[in-house]
C-alpha cells in the first residue's frame, strides 16, 4: 500500500524538481511529492503547487499556473482601446480600480493627453479606497490560512463600506470599470465626499481592531516571524515589487518614485520593513492602509472643481508607437506595455502583473520551511490568480 504513495511522476508537470521517485520497497522513507491545488482551500483560487517534502519539511516547490488563463492579452488585440477597458478589471478582481487606472493612464500617455485635475483626484481617491479594500481581503484570507478565522469576517464587514461607495459611484462593486481613457465617465455623486470622510472615521478604529486580534498575538507572531524570509537582494533580482519588496527594506514605491495621477501633490510615507519576513509584510500592509487613509483625506479636502474628461476624440486611435506605463497597484508594480500600429486596436498589449512576478519568490521563501509555512507564504505574497494567469 505504501508504495502507492510514491507517485512515479505527476502528469502535465514540467518541473525542475526531480519528480521521479526511485522505486524502493515497502516501508521506505522516500521524499513525498504532494500536489497542493488547484483545488485546495488555501491556494487562493486555482494555483497548483507541487511540493517535494521530507516529512513536513519542504525541499522544493513548483508552481503550475494557467488554470485561469483567459487570454486577456490576446483579447486586447481584437478589441478597440475603449472596448478593452472593462477587461482589465477582470485580471486582479480585488483591485479592479487600480487595473483600470494603469490601463487608462498608459493609453493616455500613448495618445499624449492628460486627464483633468478633478479626474486625477477622483482617480486617486478611488484607487486608494481600492488599495484598502484589497489589503482587507488579503488580511482576511491570510489570517484564515494561518488559522485565525475571525479577522476574515471583520475585514469583509468593513470592506463592504468601500464597495458601497464604489457601487454608488459607478454602479458596480467589484469589476468597477470606474475610469475612462482621458478621465472619468461619472461625476461624483452628491454626498461622495461625505461618504468617503465617513468611511475614514469609521475605518480608523477598525484597523486597530484587526491589530488587536493579530499584531501582538503570540501564535500569530510565531507563525509569521522569520517565515518566508526574502532578502532585499533576492527580491530585487526576482523583480518582486510592492509590499513584499518594501518589507525587505527597499523603499521603492512608484507613487513616490515615478509619481502618476495626482500623487505628487500628497504627503504620505512609504512604510518599509526590516527582515523581509511574513510578519514584516503584514505590518507594511497594515501601515499602508493607514497611509492610504491619509492620502484619501488630503484628496477629499483639496479636490478641485472642473471638468472630469480631457480632450479625447470619440474614436481612440493612438499614433504609431509603443509605451510602457506602470503604477503601484496594491500588490506591486502593475505595468502595461502597449504597441500601437495606429489603428483602433492595440497591435500588442502586454501586462506586467505584480502577482505573477511576486509568485516567483515562493520557492525561495519556502525552501526548508514546513508545509504550514507554504500556506502562510502563499497568503503573504497576496496573489490573485486572475492576474497571475490573465
Amino acid at each position: 500500500m505504501s508504495s502507492r504513495l510514491n507517485d512515479k511522476a505527476l502528469p502535465n508537470a514540467v518541473s525542475h524538481l526531480d519528480l521521479e521517485a526511485p522505486d524502493k520497497p515497502y516501508l521506505d522513507s522516500n521524499e513525498l511529492i504532494i500536489n497542493m491545488g488547484p483545488q485546495h482551500p488555501a491556494t487562493h483560487g486555482v494555483l497548483r503547487v507541487i511540493l517535494k517534502l521530507d516529512g513536513e519539511k519542504v525541499l522544493g516547490t513548483e508552481c503550475v499556473i494557467g488554470y485561469l488563463h483567459r487570454g486577456v492579452e490576446k483579447i486586447a488585440e481584437n478589441r478597440t482601446y475603449t472596448m478593452f477597458n472593462p477587461y482589465v478589471d477582470r485580471m486582479d478582481y480585488c483591485a479592479a480600480v487600480s487595473n483600470g487606472l494603469g490601463y487608462c493612464e498608459a493609453v493616455e500617455k500613448l495618445m499624449n493627453v492628460e486627464a483633468p485635475p478633478r479626474a486625477q483626484y477622483i482617480r486617486v481617491i478611488m484607487t486608494e479606497l481600492n488599495r484598502i479594500a484589497s489589503h482587507q481581503l488579503w488580511l482576511g484570507t491570510h489570517a484564515l490560512d494561518i488559522g485565525a478565522m475571525t479577522p476574515l469576517f471583520y475585514t469583509f464587514r468593513d470592506r463592504e463600506e468601500i464597495l458601497k461607495i464604489f457601487e454608488k459611484y459607478c454602479g458596480a462593486r467589484l469589476t468597477t470599470h470606474a475610469f475612462r481613457i482621458g478621465g472619468c465617465q461619472y461625476e461624483t455623486y452628491a454626498g461622495f465626499e461625505k461618504d468617503v470622510t465617513n468611511f475614514l472615521t469609521f475605518f480608523a478604529p477598525k484597523i486597530d481592531e484587526y491589530e488587536t486580534l493579530l499584531t501582538s498575538n503570540r501564535i500569530w507572531l510565531e507563525r509569521t516571524k522569520n517565515v518566508g524570509v526574502i532578502s532585499a537582494a533576492d527580491a530585487i533580482a526576482l523583480g518582486v515589487t510592492g509590499p513584499v519588496l518594501r518589507a525587505s527594506g527597499v523603499k521603492w514605491d512608484l507613487r513616490k518614485a515615478q509619481p502618476y495621477a495626482a500623487y505628487a501633490k500628497f504627503d504620505f510615507d512609504i512604510p518599509i520593513g526590516e527582515n523581509g519576513d511574513t510578519y514584516d509584510r503584514y505590518l507594511v500592509r497594515m501601515m499602508e492602509m493607514r497611509q492610504s487613509m491619509r492620502i484619501i483625506e488630503q484628496a477629499v479636502n483639496d479636490i478641485p472643481e472642473g471638468p472630469i474628461m480631457g480632450k479625447v476624440p470619440k474614436v481612440i486611435k493612438p499614433p504609431v508607437g509603443e509605451i510602457y506605463h506602470s503604477i503601484e497597484a496594491p500588490k506591486g508594480e502593475l505595468g502595461y506595455f502597449i504597441v500601437s500600429d495606429g489603428s483602433t486596436q492595440p497591435y500588442r498589449l502586454r501586462v506586467r502583473p505584480p502577482s505573477f512576478v511576486n509568485l516567483q519568490a515562493l520557492d525561495i521563501m519556502v525552501r526548508g520551511a514546513l508545509v504550514a509555512d507554504v500556506v502562510a507564504v502563499i497568503g503573504t505574497i497576496d496573489i490573485v490568480l486572475g492576474e497571475v494567469d490573465r
Binding site: L5, D145, G147, T150
Partner: protein
Amino acid sequence: MPNFIMSYLGSTVTPGEAGNQFWALMYVLIIFAGVSVAVICMNWIERKALAHFQIRLGPMRVGPHGLMQPFADALKLMLKEDIIPAEADQFVFWVAPLIGLLAAFTVYTVIPFGPSQAVSDMNIGILFMLGVSSLGVLGIVVAGWASNSHYPLMGALRSSAQMVSYEVAMGLAVVSAVLLTSLHGSGIYGATGNGDTGTLSMIGIVQAQQEQGVWFIFKFFPLGLIAFVIFAIAMVAEVNRAPFDLAEAESELTAGFHTEYSGLRWSLFMLAEYAAMIAVSSIAVTLWLGGWMRPFPNLLHAPAWDFIFSLFPGLTFGGLAAIAIIGTVRMPSHSFFKIQRIGLAAFAALLGFIALFLLLIAVAVRSSDARLLSRFNEGIGYVYWFMLKVAVFMYLFIWYRATWPRYRFDQLMRVGWKVLLPISLGVLILTASWALAEPTIWRWVQNVFGVRA
C-alpha cells in the same frame, strides 16, 4: 417489580459497585443517549456562538434560529453516498471511525456525574480514563493510513506525534492532582484528608476534594492552578481542537485525516471528536474543579442552603425558557415566520415544563421526607453542577477557535516538550516536596508564634 431493579434504588454507590448489572446497563444507555444529545446541542451552540463571534447569524433557516439544523445535518449525512476510495484499505477504512467513537464513549464509564451517578467506580479510574482516551488517536492514525492518500497520511502523522507529546505533560499534571488526594494535613490549608492513602478512583478524587474542603485548583496555590492550566492546554491538543487542530488543519491539509471520508463515517468522526471534548472537560472538572460538588458544600451546608442550591437546575431551565420566549416575541410578525414562531414557542414551553418539573421536585423534597425523591433531587443537583462546569469548558473550546491562529507543527512540539513538560514536572516535584515539608513548617510556625489552627 423485580427485586434486582428496585433493590438498587436509593443506593449510595454506583451500579457497578453494587453489582447491579441492570442499572449499570441503564446508566450506559442513559449516558450514551445523553452524550449524543449533548453533542447535538454542542453542534448547534458552536455554530451559533462562533457565528456571533464573527458577526454572522449562523444557521437561521432550519427551524427557529436554526434549532433543527443539527438534525438536518445528521439526516443529510446519513443519506449521503458512502464512498470508500478504490485505493483505500477497505476494512481498516471501515473500522477506523468506530475505533475513535468507541474510545471516546468508553471513557464515560468512569466519569462520575455524582457520587453514585456513574456506571462504575473503578479503583484505577483515572488511569483507565487516560488509557482509553488516548486510544482515540488510533482511530485517527488508522483512518489516515487506510485512506491511502497524501493529505490524510500527513494529518495522521501529525496527530500521532501531537498526541504522544501532549499525553506526557497531561499525565504529569494528572499525577500531581492525584498526589493531592493523599495529603493529610494539619496545615495552613486546614486540610483534613483521608489519611495517606491516595486514590486513582474518579469518585475518590472528588470526595477527597470534599473532605479537604478545597477544589484542587486552589490547593497549594499556585501549584494546583498551574497543573490545571497545563491540563487545560494539553486537553485541547488531545482532542485536536484549535489552536492545535493540526491533524485536520483545513487550510493546510484540506481536511487532514478525514479528507477521504464522507457521509455517516465522517459524522462518526465528528461525533467522536465532540464526545472526546466533553470527556476531557469532564476529567478536568473532576480533578480540579470539584466534580459534581456545588459551590461551598462544606461552608454552606445548612438545609436552607441545600434548598437554595437545589433550585438552580430549575431556574436555569427557566432562564433558557425565558430567552426562548423573548425570541418568540421578537420574531417578525410576518406570516412567513408563523411556523417558526409556533416552533420556538413550543420549544419554550418544553423548557418551561422541565423547569417547572425540577422546581416542583426541589420544593416537594423540602416539604416531605420521601427518601427516593430526595435521592433523585440530589442526583439532579450533582449532574447539574457537573454539566455546568463542563459547559464552561465547552464554551472555551469555541472561544479558542474563534480567537487564535493555528500553531505550526514544530512550534506545537516545542510547546509540548520544552514548555509544558518541564513545568508539569516541576509542579509535580514542588507539590510533593511542599506536601512533605508543610506539616513540619506548620508545626514550627505554631511553636514559634504560638499560633493555633
